[in-house]
Amino acid sequence: MSGRKPVITSSAAQHFWDECAKGRYLLQQCTNCQTFRYPPGPICWNCASDGVEWVESPGRGTIFTFTTIGRAPSEEFKPYVPYTVALVDLDEGPRVMGNVIDCAPEDISIDARVEVAFEDVGDAVLPQFVLSGATAS
């Protein structure tokens, strides 16, 4: 594994990441119980239905928790230090991981509102988050 590319393991994940590259943030929604799910997959965790449709999400959510990294795990992350990893609760329900970008780490807090902003990191386009009201790069 090198760079920041995800290791894609399913056709559903491939679709999610392909759409990210086009600037679209898609979530799967169960056609039986309407529960949203992430990561994408063939079966609803809530009702076990295989009925599914992709829905474009505005990508808005709330920071559940976060951590600011002072020591990069590997070469590919050194240029970004310090950077913040957050778990974000999307308004649709799923909890997702992303970096909170385009702000100082000290401006980030639990319960802050955020929205998706796509960041091209060279070998992947990542669905990141910016503080709501901030301008995406």
């Binding site: 920041r4 995800p6 928790t65 600011t68 020591r71």
Partner: protein, 388 residues
């Protein structure tokens, strides 16, 4: 207690002993021989082996209990493999006990070995865990370290309950105090709260001294039939009870981070099987890859109320001489964290305490101990050990 499988041999190797081998299989073989000898047995007496996988290729691919049994000349053998990661790393005594009770084996050798520090170095371990312990599809691209998981737990605990970095630091300070009494411990130099809170920020709010060591080390034990408990040279330590439950594998799929219904369930299962109550335990061994782990585990095992963990650990009761001794070897924070063998090292320490062999760090007249192992993030296993 008479009907419980008995641990009659125990040993460590390479935790801090420079004369021991530093290669993976060398460590596993040396520690196996020591545990069997400690039990007053030879390899010919052993008919079962439980072994845990290594962290990293090629050993991760090649490690198997069958290979270890073959190496030691143990045959025919009941051979059981525990995967490292996702499954709690302390399952040896549970599998050995179940095999003995099912009649599959009579004398089971339980082994854990790893040479993380020699093979990968600290920096290498940091990189390997970032790329393997985290989900490679949904977490890795965002660059979390393994310590980031603990940072996110701690951030949440501080937000919900007002827990402070100083309270967490007292756990690292206490671990060093225990380690100073343990000739095998990797970090025996005393530190202060200020040393911890001014150490390098790794993944906020977790600093370097909030995190465990990276070590080599192996540990092993021999479990036998209940009726053979007194056949060997040692005070037998019984596998009184065990429980196991998973809350999650990756934290992004965990609803609370600070609340772990699965850990409570595993603890209750182990205590119910053992017939012991929480206040009848003499020593508790939380799994401590990070200071925050001790706080959330003590709360969720039911030793203090949710949110009170920070206060609970910071008044001296967990230190040597305190009323609630924990991790008497120094834990993962100050004794050793060799990945898959961390829990067996911890359990061998518990066995030595219950036998009364621990010298300056001996908890007076310790008869019972609870040991917690974790896999991934929040896959739990609890063992309750005791002696007559």
């Amino acid at each position: 207690m008479k009907d419980k499988p008995a641990i009659v041999g125990a040993a460590t190797a390479g935790v801090d002993a420079l004369e021991d081998p530093t290669d993976y299989w060398g460590l596993a073989q040396v520690v196996s021989a020591r545990a069997v000898k400690d039990a007053g047995m030879t390899f010919r007496d052993i008919d079962g082996v439980v072994f845990i996988t290594s962290v990293w290729p090629p050993e991760r691919v090649l490690t198997s209990a069958a290979y270890l049994a073959q190496t030691l000349g143990i045959k025919p053998a009941w051979a059981k493999m525990i995967p490292y990661g996702g499954t709690p790393i302390s399952e040896h005594f549970m599998w050995a006990s179940m095999a003995i009770q099912a009649g599959l084996a009579t004398n089971v050798l339980c082994v854990a070995s790893e040479n993380l520090n020699s093979r990968l170095t600290r920096g290498g371990v940091v990189e390997v865990f970032a790329k393997t312990a985290n989900n490679s599809e949904w977490e890795y691209p965002f660059g979390p370290l393994l310590p980031s998981n603990f940072g996110m737990i701690a951030q949440r605990h501080m937000h919900e309950y007002g827990t402070t970095s100083e309270q967490l630091a007292t756990i690292a300070v206490s671990a060093r105090k225990w380690a100073a009494l343990n000739p095998e411990a990797g970090m025996r130099t005393p530190i202060t709260v200020e040393d911890v809170t001014s150490s390098k920020m790794i993944s906020s709010p977790m600093r370097m001294f909030d995190m465990s060591l990276v070590s080599d080390g192996a540990a092993a034990a021999v479990v036998t039939l209940p009726e053979r408990a007194h056949d060997g040279p040692n005070v037998p330590v019984r596998v009184m009870g065990f429980g196991e439950c998973v809350d999650s594998q990756n934290l992004m799929f965990n609803k609370y981070l600070t609340k772990m219904p699965g850990l409570r369930k595993a603890t209750d299962q182990a205590l119910a099987m053992s017939g012991l109550a929480r206040d009848e335990l003499d020593i508790v061994y939380p799994y401590d890859p990070a200071t925050i782990s001790v706080v959330v585990e003590l709360e969720n095992m039911g030793f203090c109320e949710p949110g009170e963990g920070g206060e609970f650990v910071s008044d001296g009761k967990i230190e040597p001489g305190g009323s609630f001794p924990i991790n008497t070897h120094g834990g993962l924070l100050a004794c050793a964290h060799p990945g898959p063998s961390a829990s067996m090292i911890q359990m061998v320490e518990a066995i030595r305490q219950l036998r009364g062999e621990c010298g300056d760090r001996q908890v007076p007249d310790a008869k019972t101990a609870l040991c917690l192992g974790e896999g991934g993030f929040y896959a739990w296993q609890v063992n309750v050990l005791g002696r007559e």
